[in-house]
Amino acid sequence: MINLVLLKTTVKKNWVLLFIFFAVLTFYMTIMLAMYDPHDTEAIMSMLELFPEDLMKAMGFSGLVTTLTGYLASWLYGLLMLGFPMVYCIILANRLVVKMVDNTSFAFLLSTPNSRSRIIVTQGVYALISLLVLFAALFGVGVMVSSIMFQDALDIGAFFKLNVTTMLVNMVVMMICFFFSCLFNEVKRSAAFGAGIPIAFLLMHMLGGVSPDAEILKRISIYGFYDPMEVVHSGTVMGANLAYSVCIVLLFAGSILVFNRKRLLL
């Protein structure tokens, strides 16, 4: 169902992009870990109090930080691990399909004995695999760096679950971008919808964190099931993971369907 020749070429053309985002997020993670003081969570809390409370809530920073894992879940996975990968998703999804349709180079892919579905599945699989690689690598970095700085302070099981759910929610974002990349013939439109909708969801997530009145906004966004503190503390993530997996599958199937049916201006 996938074409390995195309997959190889796609990896070759896009690994640098993946690496840049990995490097940036590794940098942030390391800085965040370096700022953590296991003996004095009070210091962090008092620093947090310097900022307006609502702003902190919008950023997803929780007041209940007592462990290193909770600290990471709140400080890093509350917003940064959604925002940065979102930029990656928007750029990559546009590169994988619509950019080549817009500049007509896609005609060469289709002039080989490969069906549209096969090409789209290959590109979509790369998009998902690249996020898997990104989060696997970040998980590795997190475990490694925290074991060097604070031995045994990280709850590896909880941190793993946190990365799985965060990866899945980012895969939903990727598939939203990918869907629009398959739907439109122009980068302009694909980028407008593929970026606009996820950004709107992220804003809803941030606003929803500010006050209980606005919480409905968060609930109806794709981040409704995403609560990093909950993942770390209670550990019931199966429902959220399942919901996100269903979204990913549906969006992927929808992408293939619209691409198969549409007229290509090649």
Partner: protein, 295 residues
């Protein structure tokens, strides 16, 4: 080999192609002529399965162009009208990629074609000249020795020498029984390679004929510079040509394809200081063709 049956493919703008009906037998080279925006590329999009027609069906070798696109692509060589390669690729890398995507084993023909067109595919395609890109497109389209060739304005960007080489390549493929559909907006380009031509205008086929008939009906203007324009005009008029003075020392004579010999013999009677052929627009040719047929 190629069949287009009652195909209508309309764009939201109202343009497109309407009620197209034609067939190309195996081993035939068909010229597909029409002015820009006539619907040549749209027809090709339907044949390649890039666009589903609103109505009608296209088949190649009996296979449905939409449903069986991957199977059909094994048999087709295609040169896009506006060639755009995959970003950031090198020429040799691109050829290798297309070779692998086609699951090819034998690269002898590819090498032959590179030699023939004197193309060194190394280096970033973005830095290639237009002619080099066109050559790369030609090599890509011919390297798997396809049964059917669909060529959308294939000689654009090539210098005259390379155009001649391309004509040879087409003739050789025709000899080997390949079916060819070649679109162009100039009659000159297809007359040396094709047996038949289809003429399309505003999305409709307005004529389908063999090249010889069209050639005969083609009317050319010859601009002659001479000493005494007046007598020259009279002379040509007496021989049955349409002639008129353009300036003090030049006149233009209109000659149809089957009267060239007579024209040359008549011109031998005057002092010709220079002679030039004015190229005719495609539409002029169609119009004359029509006028002639109605007579």
């Amino acid at each position: 080999m190629i069949e287009v049956h009652d195909v209508t493919l309309a764009y939201p703008s109202g343009k497109g192609v309407f009620d197209l009906q034609f067939a190309i037998e195996q081993g035939v080279a068909m010229g597909y002529l029409g002015p820009n925006g006539a619907g040549k590329t749209t027809t090709i999009r339907a044949l390649l399965g890039y666009m589903r027609p609103n109505k009608g069906i296209c088949t190649i070798a009996g296979l449905d162009c939409m449903q069986d696109a991957p199977d059909i692509q094994k048999r087709i060589g295609y040169i896009p009208g506006e060639i755009s390669f995959i970003d950031g690729m090198h020429g040799d890398e691109f050829l290798r990629f297309m070779f692998d995507m086609r699951e090819m084993k034998d690269d002898r023909l590819q090498k032959q074609l590179l030699d023939m067109f004197d193309l060194d595919p190394r280096g970033n395609i973005r830095k290639f000249s237009k002619g080099m890109k066109q050559k790369l497109g030609i090599v890509t389209a011919f390297m798997h020795d396809p049964e059917v060739l669909i060529l959308d304005e294939p000689t654009s960007g090539l210098d005259p020498l390379m155009q001649q080489l391309f004509v040879e390549l087409i003739l050789e493929n025709k000899k080997r029984g390949k079916t060819i559909l070649m679109s162009s907006h100039s009659f000159k380009e297809v007359e040396s390679t094709c047996d038949h031509v289809i003429i399309i205008k505003d999305g409709r086929i307005i004529n389908q004929s063999d090249v010889q008939t069209l050639k005969k009906s083609e009317r050319r203007g010859y601009v002659i510079q001479t000493d005494s324009v007046k007598s020259a005009v009279q002379l040509f008029a007496a021989s049955g040509f349409e002639a008129s003075a353009v300036s003090d020392d030049t006149l233009e004579v209109f000659v149809t394809g089957d009267h060239v010999d007579q024209f040359v013999k008549t011109a031998a009677n005057i002092t010709v200081r220079s002679i030039d052929v004015t190229s005719q627009s495609l539409e002029d040719i169609f119009m004359q063709f029509y006028a002639r047929k109605e007579q």
